[in-house]
């Protein structure tokens, strides 16, 4: 349609007096022009109404936020005091609980230390080139992933120390499930008659810790009970008794 520019000029208020006269003439005598103009005029009304409603909603949102904030900040003083006391007591409770009733996780953190290397002495001045030596060197350097790989590469996998130290690595890497899988056979087998007798008892102790870490409280209790009932008085036995007190 011709003269659409006149409608554009109408909406941007830029019709000259002459154009205004032509515009008026079209409105009166040209149905098509009139209908186009009325459609756009209606469109303007609708958009205006939509925009007003949208902005109103946005502003109502601001108001809601402000009223909510003012309600929070204008709480009666006695409520605030009561809330402070609750918070103080709550924090105190957590402090006391943490110290006198440690969680299973805390018990693990306090009691777990990777067992020292009693298999392969590391001599920094004259390093050996064996896989076993390299595995323990990585272990002592807390390079646990490397140590696991090297332990896996040792030819004779029957020695219980391999599983035991691999379990130490997994526990240090927060992977108790893998550690349990390795410790369980050593702990449940009859006493190790090989070179490293200690690994049987040690495995029971570390298995207890691995269960703690794995949130298996009941299994942890039975493990520590085994150690607490050992006939010899060992340092491990005393520690196990302490842990059992917390767990029970």
């Amino acid at each position: 349609m011709k003269n659409l520019d006149l409608i554009d000029k109408y909406f941007s208020n830029t019709l000259s007096p002459q154009e205004q006269m032509v515009f008026n003439d079209y409105i009166q005598n040209n149905e098509e022009f009139k209908s186009e103009f009325l459609f756009q005029k209606d469109l303007k009304e609708v958009i205006t109404s939509n925009q007003r409603e949208d902005l109103k909603k946005t502003l109502q949102g601001f108001e809601k936020d402000l009223q909510w904030k003012s309600r929070v900040f204008n709480l009666p003083k006695k409520w605030l005091i009561a809330a402070s006391i609750c918070l103080f007591l709550g924090l105190g409770f957590w402090y006391v609980k943490g110290n006198f009733f440690p969680s299973d996780k805390q018990l693990f953190v306090t009691n777990f230390h990777p067992y020292r290397n009693i298999v392969e002495p590391i001599e920094r001045d004259s390093p050996k080139q064996t896989i076993k030596y390299k595995a323990f060197l990585a272990y002592e350097n807390e390079n646990y992933y490397k140590a696991i790989n090297l332990f896996n590469s040792i030819k004779n996998q029957n020695d219980s120390f391999i599983s035991f130290y691999k379990a130490m690595c997994y526990l240090s890497l927060d992977k108790p499930t893998e550690a349990i899988g390795l410790l369980l056979p050593i702990a449940t087998s009859k006493k190790d008659n090989g070179t490293f007798k200690n690994f049987h008892e040690l495995s029971n102790w570390y298995l207890g810790l691995a269960y703690l870490k794995n949130n298996e409280k009941h299994k942890a209790i039975s493990q520590f009970s085994i150690i607490a009932n050992l006939p010899e008085n060992t340092c491990m036995k005393e520690e196990a008794e302490k842990i059992l007190k917390f767990l029970n």
């Binding site: 109404s49 902005l55 946005t58 601001f62 402000l66």
Partner: protein
Amino acid sequence: MGEDKIIRLLRLGDNATFQKIYIENRRPFIKYAKKFNVDENEAADIYQDSIIALRENAIEGKLNNLESNISTYLFAIAKNKIYRFHREKSKLSFDEDLTLNEKNIEIDVDLFGKKLTNEQEVLRTWFPKLGERCKEVLNLYYYQGFNLDEITQILNYSSKQVLKSQKSRCVKKLKELCRKKI
């Protein structure tokens, strides 16, 4: 930020600007409204309508060459609305004459009183079905008061002619949608 920039942001519908203005002037206005026994919720409603009127004044160019700042202008609009509200509510003649420092302040902005015609209701139903780009162009053109040159810049069109054709297509599309419905 300069007043010109604020006026442009109001026209563009910038939410952060609305929020800033809303928060800055709300408390003094609610306090003022209390003198006329207007409670907080009613006052907030009047205050919101005043901000909408402020935006429309900005769109119509009434805020250009402003002698006072925007907050003063907003307060003047809101005061007028309070007087009107109070007058209607109390049905008493109001002796105090409106003493306004600003010219061209829209006293009788009836934002939500107008009922849409049937044709407009149909348009209102189908307008949201247009694409985002179309809605943007039409809003800027028919409500926010930007001319085609300005919209070409705002929406990064390659030329005014391209925008013009886009606008015509959008209007045509809307017409078709409305026709189908009828």
